[in-house]
Symmetry: C2
């Protein structure tokens, strides 16, 4: 980053994973030290670390911790330990596609060691090294993905105008500048005069706590709003685009993202406001045909009844707290991925992009489009 020291929400330090505890932000900058895959899974579950791409990175490092803590002396035993870690990490949060994508990719790297040979080293050690390298590679690739998403997406935003975003999709959610927020910050850096409406994003208030904090560090003009303000802002012509991230994108382009995304998409369509979803290709799950097939995580009702951990609703109040909802593809103006910007119908376009090599964007090959 140009204007502020970079945020490091996860960092591999001396064989442990140092995790910025995002639950404490912006009041305090505290770190957890994860030494086992169970530590990482717990940090994911309680949302000390969150954000779909970052969850992939954290889970990959969780596999590296599993390899490191394993006493296995042969290939089979180590693979067994890794398999257990994979299940623990996959079970931590069910909706984020990136977790499964990352741990599967790390496992594939482990299996490749045997196939490719170990250059005479003990097989378990070679696997440990390969896994650590793969986790680091996933983190670096996500940084590059963010850069590509930011560059491609910023072209979609007007030279001047108001952009509404939901939840947090910045450096605290990724390995780089962010997805939806990367688009916004890139546009700002490119000299576009963008003002951001930041949805506070109840119940966990990622907008109020994290996005506000990050946008201030980037000096992007912003105003915090309750999640109920989007409709009236759009009705008054005060929203020129909505940009959000994604936790899982299905084969047909349906998007699971933070609760509230779906109703923003309906509102945007009603008011003729473009609705953009920005995500790395690792969030796209071509094995999930559509939103109907997605598992939506339900979280502790106390996140709703006890805002900021303070019991507020009367004792015994039941609450419904789905962490995500599904936005059908037909409400999405464009998907901004690191491999290109695509417009509906998304199915064929996603398949086309899937054939490209991961993490590499060829400008000549990208169907970018100018904003309407």
């Amino acid at each position: 980053m140009r204007d502020t020291p970079p945020v490091k929400p996860v960092e591999w330090v001396d064989g442990t994973l140092r995790i910025l505890d995002q639950r404490q932000l912006p009041r305090a900058e505290r770190y957890l030290s994860a030494r086992t895959p169970e530590d990482v899974a717990e940090a994911i579950r309680v949302m000390a670390v969150r954000g779909a791409p970052l969850l992939g990175i954290a889970a990959a490092y969780g596999m590296a911790l599993a390899a490191r803590e394993s006493n296995a002396r042969d290939h089979g035993a180590l693979i067994g330990d890794l398999e257990r870690a994979r299940q623990v990490l996959k079970g931590s949060r069910p909706t984020a596609a990136n977790i499964g994508w990352a741990v599967d990719r790390v496992m594939a790297a482990a299996h490749r060691v045997t196939v490719d040979g170990t250059n005479g080293r003990a097989e378990p050690d070679a696997i440990r090294d390969a896994i650590a390298a793969e986790a680091g590679c996933i983190a670096l690739e996500d940084e590059a993905s963010c850069e590509a998403i930011g560059r491609l997406g910023s072209e979609l935003l007007p030279e001047q105008g108001n952009v509404l975003t939901h939840c947090n999709t910045g450096a605290l959610a990724t390995g780089g500048l962010g997805t939806a927020q990367g688009v916004i910050v890139s546009a700002h850096r490119a000299g576009k005069r963008i003002h951001v409406w930041v949805d506070e994003t109840r119940p966990v208030l990622q907008g109020a706590r994290l996005t506000a904090w990050e946008l201030q560090r980037h000096k992007v003009p912003m105003t915090l709003v309750p999640d109920s303000a989007a409709g009236t802002l759009m009705a008054k012509g005060r929203v020129d685009a909505v940009v959000v991230g994604a936790d899982r994108i299905a084969e047909n382009g349906d998007v699971a993202n933070k609760l509230g995304t779906y109703q923003l998409a309906v509102l945007a369509a009603h008011h003729g406001v473009p609705f953009y979803v920005a995500a790395p290709f690792s969030t796209i799950d071509l094995d999930t045909p559509n939103g109907e097939a997605m598992v939506i995580e339900e979280r502790d009702p106390r996140e709703v009844t006890d805002p900021l951990g303070m019991p507020l609703a009367p004792e015994g109040t039941s609450a419904f707290n789905p962490a995500f909802d599904v936005t059908p593809a037909n409400l999405i103006t464009a998907l901004v991925t690191d491999r290109g910007v695509i417009r509906p119908p998304f199915g064929p376009a996603l398949k086309r992009l899937a054939r490209r090599s991961s993490g590499r964007v060829q400008d000549s090959d990208i169907p970018t489009e100018v904003p309407a």
Copy 2:
């Protein structure tokens, strides 16, 4: 109420107005004692007392306090003091129609004393009595209004189903059982199997604090949800009707109500869910042609940045906090008033109802309709 002792959010006790401090609910049941119109205006401003119909009642009693504290010994001086109180009370919150309606009505009662004669009593004392009587009458009429609204509105709800509501529109917001919440509780009492989705209603969380509390007292099945959940609930077919209150209804049927109401109306229309607005006729302001002409109160940004009074967003975060938004008449399925249920186009129907005598409902004369 049948099942619980009645809530008395305002009560005239020995020449003072006892106000239940709703900011403390549901954790504590504390009361303020208002002795002057300024006390009442301040209680309104800080939302110790809130809810459009109840604001009318509180403001009327505020006028009674003004008459009581005035040392005026002649008609002109007392009217002058009352006029000052009227302005103070009218300025407390600009969007609620009921405040202006109530203080105007009290002033009219004061003026009538001179016209009608005082039966030989000192004119100021006769005016004081007339004002106290008028305030009490406004409170009693609102109780009757709620009863009529509840009875008429409950017929619109299905025998069994899920109703979503926003903010608080119960006994804590009115002089009786409530408006939108009165509809829900009446349906429940009539044996309909209604489950309520209660929007928590950020930023002041009237849903989580007040509606949850009231519905539990009435034993109406309910589930608290973040305001961002309405869209996905509707998409899954889990909302059969939306019922909300109103703070001001224009001549053409446009409705100002708690922020978030407008986007609920858009979502309801998108999903084919009926959207009902319930309010006494005193909320209808035939002098306001439409929503464009309404003043929307903007409240302290700290209600957004500092949820529950705890600084959360980073220091220096600006926030936008409109207390209300405007729902255009074309998104409203029906208005449920104490004088009848009306459907679009609302303009002519509102004019027709306006000709009926206030506070009296003639069953034979009401265009009730069965639910679709």
